[in-house]
Amino acid sequence: MPGNRFNAFQDHGVGIGLRIPHYQHIFSRKPVVDWFEIISENFMIDAGRPLAMLDRILEQYRVVQHGVSMYFGSVTAPDPEHLRRLKQLVRRTGTPWLSDHLCWGSVDGAYTHDLLPLPYTWEAVERTVERVRMVQDFLEIPVAVENVSSYAAFTGSEMAEWEFLNEVVERADCGILLDVNNIYVSSMNHEFDPMEYVNAVQAHRVAQIHIAGHSKYEKYILDTHDHPVIDPVWELYARAIERCGPMPTLLEWDDHIPTFDEVHAEAKKAEKYLHRHSGELTGAAR
């Protein structure tokens, strides 16, 4: 069984992010795509074109929701209107699980609209767990938290990022959206071994994997989602699949978006790793 209870036991294969520049291609060519990931906030509206386009996609494709503003680590309580609209969208899409980031981004009602890193402290573990549990209970579907790329580390941190992630998901009893590109980006920015991170993650809780490209600057790497996936990230992906099994995989491409075919072809490179793992399992069973 490739799925687990954190992704509702789904065998989704390889998907791509649903982006507006690809709508025309998708509607006219109807390409075979395992699934699309949508950014929830783009569709948490009352009516109009975005929802009409989403409904057309839902007629033919499986959709999984991914959020960018739940801010599980924010100390301020979530906006009830946000939760209400999110649940409304969950009912519309029938998403089998939902993901958002292990980060914070708003305080005292003011939003930065960024995925800001958390200090890896016990206090942050407690706060985050509380909110993940609350959101999961309210939405009544499995929730997975995604590790973010970060550019700053905090003097007050009391553990490594992967230890923090493990503490949160264990106590909240939720899934992990493991972003191997984010692990790579953060490992370069914080000077740790990314493979140590992948090896430490609670593999049985991984619900989904993200792959993406990034941009290198002189002193740091920025998670820009505007390039193909680089080899070191594929190596992390291969190891993650080896540990977690053939989990639903999603390529993110959000800026300088190339044609649908180019994005899809890049995503489908992941199939090689998924099939290799499935082949190994089949071989072992003989």
Partner: protein, 300 residues
């Protein structure tokens, strides 16, 4: 520093306006050196100081929110010029940082703010304000709620005591200038620039666009959605006032009375005019049953 203190400190730093050359300021809002603020909670690494690490987030914040406002108000930007638009955006966001989980609402207070701060649009203030009103109405009409409208047959059964609702995505805009056509022209220009090179041309980016001479003339416009696309429709003053009164909950007789207040339309021609309005409104799906929740609130 506990989690709340850390988040308040970091948010204040991240949302502090950048310098003219897009760097993080040396001094925080409370007068402390930003280096000290950064070092109080951020660790340096072998390549970046605490200040530089915090600066990455500070710059990303401003690039993101300024980009979002620019996307929602391209005509306003063209009217006041790129540099003035950036200045007004920074001042506006300083006064009204996002209070919503979605950046869709970032510009929701811009027209009110701009009305109270004419210095940010200098001699084009009145026009800029109208342009902002039209562009925000577009945002609201684009994804506003849609209710089942009354049919023409249902509309025919209404009488003076009837209370109605308007289609939620219908936005009514009273303007000092006939700026709707200008906004459409500027949006077309924007689309052309984006599609010709794949990116926006940067030439002359700081200067406001040259505009045809627009005379001040009270103008009434409706922004509404048809087949998922937003359209603008000019309204007569009387039509606008009637619709506004309906939206405010007046019964039909009172709404029409308010609509024709100070009107020059001869009494003899008013009934015909009202029939024409209702036929058009019904065709466009603007007329709905009243919102029951609002009636309940009113009765309480």
């Amino acid at each position: 520093m506990n989690l709340q203190e850390l988040q308040r400190t970091m948010a204040a730093a991240v949302m502090l306006p950048l310098t003219a050359d897009e760097q993080m300021r040396e001094t925080a809002g409370d007068g402390r050196a930003m280096t000290a603020v950064a070092e109080s909670f951020i660790a340096a690494n072998s390549r970046l100081s605490a200040f530089e690490r915090l600066e990455i987030y500070n710059r990303q914040y401003w690039f993101r929110v300024l980009g979002a406002l620019q996307e929602d108000f391209p005509a306003l930007r063209a009217v006041v010029g790129a540099r003035a638009f950036e200045a007004l955006s920074i001042a506006y966001l300083g006064a009204h940082p996002s209070r919503s989980f979605t950046m869709r609402n970032l510009g929701s207070k811009l027209t009110d703010w701009l009305a109270a701060h004419p210095n940010f649009a200098s001699r084009r203030h009145g026009l800029a304000l109208d342009v902002a009103r039209i562009e925000w109405a577009f945002v609201e009409a684009f994804d506003g709620a849609e209710r089942v409208p009354l049919t023409l047959d249902q509309v025919a059964t209404l009488d003076g005591d009837s209370r109605l609702g308007l289609q939620p995505h219908l936005r009514l805009i009273a303007l000092d200038y006939p700026a709707d056509e200008l906004v459409l022209a500027l949006h077309d220009r924007e689309k052309q620039q984006t599609s010709e090179a794949g990116v926006k041309r940067e030439e002359g980016r700081d200067a406001p666009v040259k505009l045809p001479k627009l005379r001040r003339r009270a103008t009434w416009v409706a922004a509404h959605r048809v087949d998922l696309a937003v359209f603008y429709r000019r309204l007569e003053r009387e039509e606008f006032q009637t619709l506004a009164a309906i939206r405010n909950g007046a019964c039909l007789a009172d709404a029409i009375g308010e609509g024709f207040a100070n009107s020059r339309i001869p009494e003899a021609r008013r009934a015909q005019r009202i029939r024409e309005w209702f036929a058009t409104w019904a065709e466009l799906g603007w007329i709905c049953a009243p919102d029951l929740e609002s009636l309940v609130e009113e009765s309480i």
